[in-house]
Structure formats: C-alpha cells, structure tokens
C-alpha cells in the first residue's frame, strides 16, 4: 500500500490481488458461519475491495495494515448480512486467520446488474478499462474525451457502484 501510494501501479495490483484471495476466504467462512452459502460471496469481496480502494486514505500509515483490512472486511460482511436480514453477532476474527484458498474469481450476477444501473458513459468507461483491459489514455482516444475526464468519470463510476451496493436489498 505504501508503494502503491507512491505511484506504483504494479504494487497496487499485487496488493489488491493478495487481498482479494484473503477476502474470499474470510467472506466465505463468514457467510458459512451465518448459515449462508457462498453464492453471494464474490459480491461481498468486490464490495469490500471497492471500499478498500475508495477509503484507502483512512488507513493511517503509521499503523499496520492488517487490522484496517480486517475492519473493512468485517464492516462489509456485517452490512451485507444485515441487508439480507441477518442480525446475530458475527466475529470474523474467528475466521480471518485461516489460510486463503485460491478459487476462481467468479463473475457474479449482482455486480453485473449494478454496473448496468450506472449512467451510460460511466458504465462504458468501467467496461472499457476492466473488461477490455484498456488504459485510460486509450479509452480517452476511443471516446473522444481527455484522459483527465476519463479518470474523473471512472472515479465517479466507482463511487456510484459502491453506493449501488449499499442500496442493494436483494
């Protein structure tokens, strides 16, 4: 994270990759503990990743990063379960120490539906960058926008996506 803050894209990609593996294990065990199957685990993983990204400035650099990651995972897991009518106490610390299992990062119906709910231009830019794997500069050229405008729209789209997750009651 420190290196990612200093402008190292690859370090950030590696960090998010590792974190998503860890998150997947934590979330699955958390859902299991709440008596739910792993069907919507990837939604929680993606929602938590999005929060870690958008709220990365709330990590205090003088503190270790693990408690911060764990706190976000717990908040998002509890929030997800509460939206689905689960009210019991849940302590993810019981599950957080387990070794991450490598599983396929499956596409989820939900995030696709939420993405479809974004304004057209925001959705297009997210798709170009994430699904097509294009760089912001390429997307800018294809859509006839400045690179800065693409970045601003992308940032808004990610915030809108996070808000859509919070509203999602399904």
């Amino acid at each position: 994270m420190r290196r990612a803050r200093q402008g190292d894209d690859e370090a950030y990609r590696r960090l998010l990759g590792h974190v998503s593996l860890w998150l997947r294990a934590v979330v699955r065990r958390g859902l299991l503990a709440a008596g739910r199957g792993p069907a919507d685990s990837e939604d929680v993983v993606q929602e938590a990743l999005l929060a870690m990204h958008l709220k990365r400035d709330t990590w205090d650099e003088t503190q270790p990063i693990e408690p911060w990651l764990r706190a976000i995972a717990r908040y998002k897991l509890v929030d997800h379960l509460r939206r689905r009518g689960f009210h019991d106490h849940l302590d993810i610390d019981d599950y957080a120490e387990q070794v991450a299992v490598a599983v396929d990062a499956d596409a989820t119906v939900d995030s696709q539906a939420l993405l479809a709910g974004l304004p057209k231009r925001q959705r297009r830019i997210v798709e170009e960058i994430s699904l097509e794997g294009r760089r912001a500069a390429e997307v800018a050229e294809r859509l006839g926008m400045s690179e800065g405008a693409v970045r601003v729209t992308l940032h808004r789209a990610l915030k809108a996506l996070a808000a859509a997750y919070r509203r999602d009651q399904s």
Partner: protein, 211 residues
C-alpha cells in the same frame, strides 16, 4: 464482473489525488463557523462588558474550557472516522473532564456556599440552551459532509463526535456573548446545550455516514 476486472478498474483509478481528512475537516469547520459567526453578530453580539471581562480568571477559564473541548472533539472526530475502532475513543475527552472538575473545585472553594445556587442557575440558562444548538447547525452539516469521505467503524458514534465538535464551535462563539462566567454555569449549561446537538449528530450520522 469478475474480481480481477474490478481490480483493473481500481488500479486505473489509483492516481486520484486525495486530500487529508484533517485539513478538509478544519476547512469545513471554519466555513461553517463563519456562517454561525455572522448569525452570532446578527442576533446575539458580543457582551457589552467584554473588555473588563477579558482579564478575569473566570472568563479566561471559560474560553479555555471551550477551546479545549473544540480541540479534543476535533481529534475525536478524526479518530472515529476510521474503520479500525480505537479502544475507548472517549478517553480523548478526559483532559476536558479534568479541567472542568478543577474549575468547579476552584469555584466552590472561593465562593461562599450561599451563592452556589445563584451562580449555577445564572441568568442566561435558557438563552444558552437555545443559542448553542442553533449556532451549531451549520457547522454540524459541514462537518458531517466532510466525514462522509471517511469510513467510520460506527457511523452513529462518528455522527455524535461531529455533533460535539459543532457544539464546541458554537459554544466558542456563544462564550463571548454570555456574561455568566462561573464554571458552575458553564460546565452545567454548555454541556446540556451540547446534548441535543450530539444526539442529532448521532442520528444523522447513523444514516449519512454509512459507507
């Protein structure tokens, strides 16, 4: 959308510049405070005997208490705006409780027992209870708006801290109007006036500060 696709989008968004929360919070408090300052001059105004009052120990202690509350509430707001809950965040307010206790102890020592009650009740209690919450509204809205970019472990607690901060800012203005300088009055009525602001902040925070 697969998770590695999402990660691509997040990496592409990495370079978004970020502003430290404490500066944004200070700016919002200042902006909200300026609105309340205008409101303060339009309605209450500074007390007529401000110049002789400035030199008295009771007035200085009152301003000291209010400014200490402001500073501690600010640091409390920053502390509770993070996902990791610090142990006992309320401990940050202990210096305020200590100074209030010392102020009350001194007042009780120097005052004859017969005048305790009249100092406690004062003559502005009702004005205080109305003025502080009113002057706190705009700062509270400004502080809550900034805290939305945080990620509080407890949104209600963060909202309550925002209420305390806004109430302290309002009290800092009101202290220059009110001529009840006795610590007995200040500790009692300023605290009571802050309660509805804290409650409002907690309720609003519970709704607005979810992330």
């Amino acid at each position: 959308m697969k998770t590695h696709n999402l990660i691509d989008a997040l990496v592409a968004d990495r370079a978004t510049p970020a502003k430290p929360l404490r500066w944004a919070l200070a700016a919002a408090l200042l902006a909200g405070g300026l609105v309340s300052l205008v409101l303060f001059f339009a309605t209450l105004g500074v007390r007529a005997d401000i110049e002789p009052a400035l030199g008295t120990w009771r007035f200085d202690l009152k301003v000291g208490l209010v400014l200490l509350a402001l500073g501690l509430a600010f640091s409390l707001c920053i502390a509770v705006s993070r996902p990791v809950m610090t142990n006992h965040p309320g401990r940050r307010l202990l210096p305020l409780a200590a100074l209030a206790a010392v102020a009350i102890a001194i007042e009780l020592l120097v005052l004859p027992t017969t005048s305790w009650a009249s100092r406690l009740v004062g003559s502005n209690a009702l004005v205080c209870l109305v003025a502080i919450p009113t002057l706190a509204i705009v700062p509270l809205a400004a502080v809550l708006a900034i805290l939305r970019s945080g990620a509080p472990a407890s949104p209600a607690l963060a909202g309550g801290a925002a209420g305390l901060l806004a109430a302290a800012a309002a009290a800092a203005l009101y202290a220059f109007h009110c001529f009840d300088d006795s610590p007995l009055f200040v500790v009692t009525w300023y605290a009571l006036a802050a309660l509805p602001v804290i409650a409002l902040g907690a309720v609003a925070g519970h709704r607005l500060l979810r992330w």
